[in-house]
């Protein structure tokens, strides 16, 4: 009887300890980055370009590049992803072809990001002749975020009660009319959540843009789709491994990490807020 109690206590402390450990590590990492990064933070850091071999100045071109490439990503993947989600929830018959689509989506979400990068090099940079550019990188990241957008949109569409559709169809609406006027509006916040999470993923990815458009150093933000661009994650990679005087640029590296983490967390918290508001609204609707 006592052995039983000892085992049970040991086991439960394993659960609690692993949770505490994970949370503690996360908090320590973030506090470390925040404290070190804060030292260089300021208006100039956010709005100036890198100066003196990146040892001084700011990271504005990288911020602008990341913002543009992430927006471009969502411009590509959102219509395609929402279209696919509508097809899967509202139209697709339950047959072998549909199962293939679902299998493909699940597998795409497990494809390593560097493999997307290779695919982007062959298809967009070489075959379609887009070169290493903002456009190529945005398209590559668009494909990478596609499965995530589809999954999020599908969940949002599924959460709309069946009765909505039945009501619209009973009133004589065609299928597309029912989707457009009755099903899509309540699903929009959920789709928006997916889009924001897609933005956040695109902002943090490095491997897919490595060979499709990101540049080591550019003094300005890109002005056209065929320009190369700087990006926050790539800038952090350069500053922490490729620079000739790593110690000198370390404060700027911390600052870049802080901006990147801050950006990604803000996007994620926004997505959480949208989602929980939507849940509450759907619950009161029922």
């Amino acid at each position: 009887m006592r052995a039983k109690r000892v085992w049970s206590a040991l086991g439960r402390s394993w659960l609690v300890l692993s949770t505490v450990l994970v949370v503690a590590v996360l908090v320590l990492f973030l506090v470390h980055i925040a404290r070190q990064g804060w030292q260089v933070m300021g208006w100039e850091f956010l709005t100036d370009r890198p100066r003196r071999g990146m040892t001084q100045g700011g990271i504005f071109p990288a911020i602008a590049g990341t913002a543009l490439v992430s927006l471009l990503t969502v411009v590509f993947s959102l219509p395609l992803g929402v279209g696919a989600a509508i097809y899967l929830t509202e139209y697709a018959p339950d047959n072998r072809a549909t199962r293939w689509i679902r299998l493909a989506i699940r597998n795409l979400s497990g494809v390593p990001s560097i493999v997307y990068g290779l695919f982007g090099v062959v298809l967009f940079v070489d075959l379609l002749g887009l070169g290493t550019s903002l456009l190529s990188a945005g398209l590559t990241l668009g494909l990478l975020t596609l499965p995530w957008i589809i999954t999020a949109s599908e969940e949002a569409l599924k959460s709309v009660p069946r009765a909505y559709r039945d009501g619209a169809l009973a009133l004589g609406a065609t299928r597309w009319q029912a989707v457009r006027t009755v099903v899509l509006p309540p699903a929009l916040p959920g789709i928006l959540t997916g889009a924001i999470l897609g933005l956040s993923r695109a902002a943090g990815e490095t491997a897919p843009i490595l060979f499709t458009g990101v540049a080591f150093f550019l003094p300005f933000a890109p002005t056209s789709l065929s320009d190369q661009f700087m990006a926050l994650p790539y800038h952090l990679y350069i500053l922490s491994t490729q620079h000739h005087s790593l110690e000198k640029v370390r404060p700027i590296a911390y600052g870049t990490a802080l901006v990147l983490v801050g950006l990604v967390f803000t996007l994620n918290l926004t997505a959480f807020a949208v989602r929980s508001r939507m849940r509450r609204r759907l619950e009161t609707a029922r």
Binding site: R12, I33, W100, V111, I150, A207, P233, L260, V261, V264
Partner: protein, 301 residues
């Protein structure tokens, strides 16, 4: 039904058909992309084997495409490195992941759970370069101090950091699997006199096992394909790994380092695509196995 629509509404039906076609096309895009990745990578990778013997690529360990006494294209060392780092990461991820998932789903008070579940998802949002950076400035130096090494950028460093990358997947999917176990199972076990811990180990965990296995496979897939973290934090020595305290260079890191530097259209360039294709196949198999476990778990219920 369809034949009875009046003539005046034909135009309407054409629009309806068009829309359905457009949406179906969006749906099939995923299949196209997956097939496209397979075909393009295979096509580019295969071109390497005009110069490089396939047998040498698959069975030898030395990767040295720029060697002055003849280029070597053995994939062995980097595959071993990838698996060493991944298995190290799983050795941390499995116990920690199951621990956190079980705590969240079985023991945590509702309020704690409401805070921790989003926190785990936030962990997933941290970009891999930031994790790699942490490996350079915090974890690596700590490992160097702990084991008395001149440099902490080792396979162990990569394993620790990949744990951070793999944990969110492992925790969140394992927790889903645990919560999918019907409440009646637990109540029956408790009614028979088992305490909550025994109920977890003898009833809930076995019932959720296929789902947890799938979660771990998917987490492993993430670790295998992770690029920036290992590229920054494992030292990138292109030799056969000699243990967790040696620097390693994985498949992903090799592609990331070399593709930017080789001229397009050379054997070396195509060989990197062959490595990418191998990586794609490995991750495909891992996902497929996870899928199999998920389907098995569903059938059991």
């Amino acid at each position: 039904m369809r034949d009875s629509i009046p003539v005046t509404r034909r135009r309407f039906r054409a629009g309806e058909r068009l829309m359905e076609g457009v949406l179906a096309l969006c749906g099939y895009t995923s299949v196209l992309v997956l097939a496209g990745i397979f075909v393009l990578l295979l096509w580019q990778g295969a071109r390497a084997f005009r110069e490089v013997p396939l047998w040498e690529f698959l069975t030898t360990a030395r990767w040295d495409p720029t060697s002055p006494e003849g280029a070597r294209y053995g994939i062995g060392s980097m595959v071993a490195s990838t698996f060493l780092v991944t298995l190290g990461a799983m050795a941390f991820t499995v116990p920690l992941g199951i621990g956190v998932a079980a705590y969240l789903s079985e023991f945590a008070p509702a309020r704690v759970r409401e805070v921790l579940k989003p926190a785990v998802e936030m962990l997933a949002a941290i970009p891999s370069v930031v994790v790699g950076f942490i490996g350079i400035v915090v974890v690596g130096p700590a490992i160097a101090r702990l084991f008395g090494l001149p440099n902490g950028l080792t396979a162990l460093n990569g394993a620790v950091l990949l744990t951070v990358m793999a944990l969110p997947t492992a925790v969140s999917l394992s927790e889903d699997a645990l919560r999918a176990v019907p409440r009646d199972h637990r109540l029956a076990s408790l009614a028979l006199g088992a305490n909550p811990w025994e109920t977890l180990v003898k009833v809930t965990l076995p019932a959720a096992a296929p789902g947890i296995l799938a979660a771990m496979m998917l987490a492993m897939g993430r670790a295998i394909g992770e690029t920036m973290t290992v590229l920054m934090a494992t030292g990138n020595a292109p030799a056969f790994p000699s243990g967790f305290l040696s620097p390693v260079r994985t498949m992903t890191a090799t592609i990331a380092i070399e593709l930017g530097e080789v001229p397009h259209g050379t054997a070396h360039y195509f060989a990197l695509f062959a490595v990418g294709f191998a990586l794609f196949v490995i991750s495909f198999v891992v996902n497929w196995v996870a899928d199999w476990f998920i389907r098995r778990g569903r059938r059991a219920r």
